[in-house]
Structures are given as C-alpha cells and as structure tokens.
Amino acid sequence: MSAVPAILGRRSTGERVRGGAFYALLVFSISVGFLLLGTLLVDVFRKGVPFLDWVLLNNPPSASPEKAGARPAILGTIYMMGLLLLMAVPVGVGTALYLEEYADRERWYNRVLEINIQNLAAVPSIVYGILGLAFLVRGLGLGRVLLAGAMILTLLVLPIVIVSSREAIRAVPDSIRQGAYALGATQWQVISRQVLPAAIPGIATGSILALARAIGETAPLLLVGALTYVAIDPTILGQFTALPIQIFQWIARPQDDFKLLAAAGIIVLLAILLVMNAGAIWLRNRYQRRW
C-alpha cells in the first residue's frame, strides 16, 4: 500500500471488490455455456465418430445398426434448408424493406403488422406444426410432403429473418440514401443499389440464425408428416424425413448401437449447419463494409 504515490490516491476496497466480483461473474457466465457445449461435443464425438462412415451417409434406415444409414434424412434436411432459404430470405427481406423503407409508421395497419411479427417470434413451434397440418397439408391439400415441411419451417423462422433484416437495413446510414437521392435516383434505385448491398452482411447473419433454428426443429415436422422410416430419397412433393427426426427415433430405440448411431447423426447435422454457416459468413465478409 505504501508504494502507491499519495498524489494519485486509491479507490476504496469496496470499489475494487465490486469490480473484481463483476469480472468473476462474467467469467462464470461464459464458462457455463462453454463447458456445457464442450461436454456435449466431446460426448457426441466420442460416441459417434466410430459410426461416422459411408454406410451412415449413403444407406437408408435399417433394423440392424450395422446397415442403418440416414441418407433420406440427410437429403431431406438439405432439401428443406435449401427451400427454406429460397422462401424465407426473399419474403423476410421484402417484409423488412417494406416496413423500413415504405411503410408509414403512423398507419394503424403497419403498426398491427409490426406487433404481429414480434409476437410470431414467440409462438411455440408446435403451434406452427398444427397450422401446417390444418392449412398446408389438409387445407391446401399438399399432403404430408417435404414442401409442406419446408413451408412450415419458413413460417417459423420468418420473424427471425425479418427482425434481423430490418436491423441491417436500419443500420445503413441515412446519409447514403440522401446522397443517392440527391443524384436523381428513384426509390427503387436507392434501395437496390445502395441500401440492399450495404445490408447484405446483416441479412446474411440473420439467415444463419434462421437456418440454425430451423435445422434442429422436430416438433412441427412431425405434425406435417415427416416419417421416421423413409427408405427412398426424398422429393419435394414426396414423403420425407429429416435428420433431427431420424436422430430422435434412433435414440428412442433400445439397442445401444443405435444410440451411438444417433451421435454420428448429430455430427452430420452439425456439419451441414457448419457448411451452411460458412457460406453465409463468406457472403457477409465479401460484402462487409465500414462507414
């Protein structure tokens, strides 16, 4: 203590303890997430890696663990994620653009729309499943097909895409819009050539989040008819299954080998998610701009 120059003085012990305690709390918070995730990953990889082989990737499901694969489920998930991106991004970005660039906030219907979208994000996914069953599978007569699954997942993640796209669009400085308008650009030119390109990084981030949410969804897919046993490759208008459902089904089996197979399935699911994220991150970095 005596080494501290008197001229600078010293904070009270209480202040220093509070600062230290806060830092400790932060370290604790990050450790919780990190340890849980780490444990999960280690466990999954330890069990799953031996089963991670061509049989898993290429074989249809089977009653014997040695021959069982997840090819229809993997393809089903990939198809669904592709369709999801094709549907959710244009609709989500379009909605976000309308709300940010065109909508008059004073109008009651725009406010209703906003509140609606915010509330949709909190609706349990099973409710979306019921909606899909009633409206898509039966109402529209689509049947229990992959397209219905993709559509219901699209509805499920649409609020995520909309909210993150709105934030990305709002983050484009108004000075950019004004600069473009001042050159005689029309509203469409301002949006398509300045606002959207500048918002792409944020939109890509939102799409990653949406994909990550959708890829693990099981409940709504069960309702719109994702089957646990599909032996043939899925088609858009055919019966289908998805990886989370396959994993769930394997885990529910009594044989221990199927549990290990489920771990291998989780690794595949993570790998697909990582590849999709990598694509979005590449897109984000390509368009990354500073102001």
Partner: protein
Amino acid sequence: MTVTDAAPAKITGIDPNVLVERSPRADDRPSREALFSVQDLTVRYGAVPALADVSLEIYRNYVTAFIGPSGCGKSTFIRCFNRMNDLIPSAVVEGTILYHGLDLYGHEVDPVEVRKRIGMVFQKPNPFPKTIFDNVAFGPRILSMDGPVEERVEKALREAALWDEVKDRLKASALSLSGGQQQRLCIARCLAVEPDVILMDEPASALDPISTTAIEDLMHRLKREYTIVIVTHNMQQAARVADMTAFFSVRVSEDGKQRTGVLIEYDETPTIFTKPNDKRTEDYVTGRFG
C-alpha cells in the same frame, strides 16, 4: 455597386481586402439572370414553421451564400431547391420556387427529375461504400447517360480537382480517402450527372483549413459553368466565395416556444459585409450577435 466604397474600417473580423479581391465587378459579370425565383416560401415540420415567407432570386453562374445562426432555417431552405425535404414525411412546403420559370412544387413535377438537374453536396462527406470509380459512376449509371462511363468519371474527377490524386487507385474504396478528398469526391459525383445547379450544405464545416481552401477554390472555378448555392456558418467563407449573400435569422414567437427562420437581408456580398441595411445583419457580421 463599385469596389472602392466597399471597405469601411468599421467591420471587424472580415479582411476588407478579401472582399475587394473577390467581389464581382460589373464589367466582367454576365448580366443577372434569375435562375430560381422564390416567392413567399414557408416550410413547416408538422405544425411548426421552420422557415417563413422567404422571397429571393438566385442568379445564374453566381455563388449565392446563405448565412445565419443555428436554427435559422438556412439548411431547410437549401433543401427546398432540390426537393430533399420531400423525404421528411412531416415537412410541408408552401409558396413557390420557380426554376427557369417552372414551379418546382407543381403537381406535374417529379422530384426525381428535379434532383437530376439540381445536385447537392452535404455537410458531412457521404461517399457510398464502394470504389472511388463506382461512386462517380453511380449517377451516370442510374440515369443511363450515354457515352462511356469512364470518360464521364475522369471528366468529373478532373473538374473536382481530384483526378491527379486518385487516378492510380480508382478501384480503391472511397472510404480510404481523407475527409477533404471524400468531399471533393462527393462534388465529383454530383458533377458527373451534369447538373445545372450545385447546392452545398455547409460543405467545408467538417474539413480542415487546407481542404476548405481546396473546396473554395473549386467553387470559384465551378461557377463559370454552374450555379452554386452554399449554406455556411463561416462568414469569412461566405465573404470569400459568394457573389450574393442572404442573411437569415431566428424569429422567436411571443411565448418563446416557436423559433422560425426568416430572411433578414439579401444583397451583394460586399454590401452585406460592409454596409448592411439591417441592424441585425450588421450585428451578426460584426460578431455582436447574441
């Protein structure tokens, strides 16, 4: 007016020589031709008038400066000339602005077409987050102007006195330029669409003195081909660059709640700075303004 009677010693703050040097002389000036004729212009944001009853004429190939204290509506006023106020939902513009005799606020007038003819440079340099080339090429591209874009870009950059500094790195990001270069890039971007008028809203207020001088020199050269309107809170700058100066001030309502910009005096720059007619102008240009 003549130059000889333009330098009484009572004015402090402004070097009279600056005025003598830069002031328009009757013999080499084109006869005044009104390009804009503003009549009884009032701008409201919601119910509150930001600017009331302004009437004046802007002359072709002149540099016209709007000066005045903060909140006097000079920026609001300059944004009326290219209908930028249309972008603010609550803004209402009353009165008329005739441009070549056409009412800019007439029903048949498309603001997008107005902005094509009447360019604008903003207070803070706002280059697009694109390359230097793409910034200048943006206007010609969206307007589908004929001829090679490269030529237009080079011409505009030369006019804006930026070509020599950037010709080797046209593909670099515009954001890598210094603030003064960015502002000249914004001027080049504006020139590339071949406007008739250039509106500048405090174009040098965010720049260092050297960049400011570069922009002012540019204005002197540009006024041969363009009509320039500039808002500035720097009186020396108005004295240096402007042929005509309009002084705006704030009128506070009786209850003190509403502050409305009004035009106090509009005249040739030397007159405004050396023998203004209105006491309020004199107080402002001599630095006595509260």
